[in-house]
Point group: C2
Chain length 104, copies 2
């Protein structure tokens, strides 16, 4: 496990909102919410590796995702349970708002 | 009325999250949520006017607040009804998360 994941109780609201206040990171989070655990390379296309690395770090350091090495890749998953325990309803409400904005 | 307020249907989730992903703006929004309409000068102290002007603009342009001239001041109020209609539960869930983080 990469060691910059905050503990559940250390997750900060400002960090979570900042992490989600970016269209690419929101796309990633929605893909993980829908599809479950995925490898870094399979979620978004057409974005440079260095850009993605930066976004994974923001998502990881804010407590929004787990990023775990797996062979030559990293596996990503949403920290849904931790976020739900820390800030009940927050992630689901934001995801619902994103769906609503898309007309889904 | 200052004319950069977005219509209800034009409020964007990313803009709302960005607006709230800042400690001073969150403090302002929480003060408006608790105390209702207030004048610009009465909400926060010890912050320069130019800094506050920038924060009012972000809050206004994102659709989070109304900012209306009133005599020599501006009156601020939360666009709670518009946000609730656009993204149900979003603002209240974020405010509850902020309270929870503070241990309230």
């Amino acid at each position: 496990m990469i060691d910059t994941h905050p503990d559940r109780d250390q997750i900060q609201l400002q960090d979570v909102l900042s992490a989600l206040a970016n269209p690419l990171r929101m796309t990633i989070v929605r893909a993980l919410a829908t599809g479950g655990e995925q490898s870094c390379g399979s979620i978004v296309e057409g974005v440079s590796k260095s850009t993605l690395t930066r976004h994974w770090r923001v998502l990881r350091d804010s407590g929004v995702i787990w990023q775990q090495p797996s062979g030559r890749e990293n596996l990503l998953s949403l920290r849904h349970d931790d976020l739900e325990a820390r800030f009940p309803g927050l992630l689901d409400t934001i995801l619902a708002a994103a769906d609503r904005e898309d007309g889904r």
